[in-house]
Symmetry: C2
DNA sequence: TATATCTATAGTTTAAAGCTATAGTAAGGA
DNA sequence: TCCTTACTATAGCTTTAAACTATAGATATA
């Protein structure tokens, strides 16, 4: 048994069809049929139930599929690592990020580029908790900036900074007159919030829960910029990370703080403990840690 | 790149010698040389430093070796799982155990054998904490009875019972006259204890530490029976698990309890969360859990 | 210098993974 | 019911690459 067979098997399962899978794998259909049959003979177990129209996994097939996917992922990850060892100095740094990332990252990158001028930096927005896991485990990113404190056997996350959430309202909103704004006040308003999967959404909904308030969600948006525009048009209020909101203010809006202890999140840097990281990636991680250690010390 | 190449590479690294590795792998030396060279070309990295007399790993080689070993282990584990799926009902249950296991296990096995008369049971003594990990991860055992409360992402351990340690002394020993025996008393005596790596050793030494006493270790033994014999000859005292000591008593020895709260250990059943376990193994694990739940309830 | 011990190269054999062509099987439409 | 469609399996041939043997090259030890 070898990895080729695992690859053949997994794509066959995914395509639920020998002919299509064969096309995906750039081999002929009989070759694939043969390979799968040989595999089944080798383990003396039926792995696929060839039903009329479509394939079903047997119990053994299900186990074999799960294991194969895991093995292939690890194998592919190893090849990424080797490639990164080869391209040391001229490679890529892939970063997963949350929304407020872009406000502090440029400050760090300027200095970093002096040491590693040829490094290519790839930033992708990582939204929900599963995606954070997934993008790390699949080696899509070298590290990720997240509000999830993940700590398991494989992933290590270290806190970078704390960030408050602020309320963005139209300047003519009645709340702007109030001295102190509570969650109960916001509950009466029409709330603009990120759609499911976005990290800020979870933070905000948790705060509502902790404050025993029920949010009146009217708009669900994908980009925080959209939320700002809607507020500007007087269509509702929104809650945004502090770092973000500074750049979002326009003459027609007002930024107010909310009277709550729950509207604060910690932002972490998370990475795989065991993965090989090129010197460039290590340096960048170090720079980020330094930046915030210095930043925090400066604040106090 | 395929698993064959990983296997060739790892054994070459382990043997530090192409010719020997080739023999291990039942292939000719030129075939192996060729395979490794092809591998190095494929990843465009030198993996081995061919020094005069012996091989050295490069940095990339080291990473590749570590990953390969892990991948091969997982791959072999999968094959064990498939084999167990095939042999369901007539397979083997492999158990790792600590010393006191044998006193309660026969009670459970009698009933188990009614349901699974053809199952082969393999018991191996698992000594230190690393061995517990290793034997589980390498699929050497289906589960293990241990005094280590392991809980990580892969291994789950559930408590079975608590067990006191007792003191075994010669019947003429002066301690036999004392009403209450403390660790300070034992510290003055010549102690017989298991060698490094045995689970009881760690438990006992920890208790000495907690009681601020320094053990006077004179004999280190591998089998608890040896400890009993030595005590019978009047060569020292020993500390043994309660369940064990009942069968160890002879006319020339005396069993005494020790005045300490630290001489108790919890015994756990540990297994891999993610591994496929045959119905027989599941039933046996269930039987063991039931036995001790019932046993505990019966005690109180 | 000779010998032992190892790895690399050259050329050949062989196993198996791939191909094309085609047969077999079940579902769906006329 | 029969034909078409959409699949998978079988048969026989081709090609790739992994293995082999024989031998050359390199380096340390006697």
């Amino acid at each position: 048994m070898d990895l080729r067979q695992l690859r053949y098997f997994t794509t066959t399962v995914q395509e639920k069809n020998f002919s299509k899978a064969a096309k995906m794998l750039h081999i002929s259909q009989p070759s694939l049929s043969n390979a799968i049959m040989k595999l089944e003979n080798e383990v003396s177990l039926q792995l696929l139930e060839r039903n009329t129209r479509g394939l079903e996994l047997t119990e053994a097939g299900g186990l074999f599929y799960a294991r194969s996917v895991d093995l292939l992922r690890r194998f592919d990850n190893m090849q990424v690592e080797l490639k990164e060892m080869k391209d040391v100095g001229s490679g890529t740094v892939s970063i997963g990020s949350i929304e407020s990332f872009k406000f502090w990252f440029p400050k760090i990158i300027r200095n970093f580029k002096i040491n590693y001028p040829n490094i290519h930096i790839k930033i992708s927005e990582i939204l929900g908790e599963e995606k954070v896991f997934d993008s790390l485990n699949r080696y899509n990113v070298h590290f990720t900036i997240t509000n999830q404190p993940i700590n398991n056997d494989e992933i290590l996350s270290t806190p970078l900074y704390k960030e408050k959430f602020m309320l963005l309202i139209h300047k003519d909103d009645e709340l702007n007159e109030k001295e102190s704004i509570t969650f109960q006040d916001i509950a009466k308003k029409e709330l603009i919030i990120s759609t499911t999967g976005f990290q800020t959404r979870d933070d905000i909904l948790r705060a509502f829960k902790d404050e025993n308030a029920i949010p009146n969600i009217l708009y669900e948006i994908e980009r925080l910029e959209t939320a700002c525009s809607l507020v500007e048009e007087g269509l509702g209020v929104t809650i945004l990370p502090e770092s973000y909101i500074k750049s979002a203010a326009t003459p027609n809006t007002a930024i107010r703080s909310i009277d709550s202890n729950f509207l604060e999140r910690t932002v972490y840097l998370a990475f795989l403990k065991d993965r090989y990281l090129s010197p460039a990636v290590c340096k960048l991680v170090e720079d980020i840690h330094c930046f915030f250690r210095w930043d925090v010390r400066n604040d106090t």
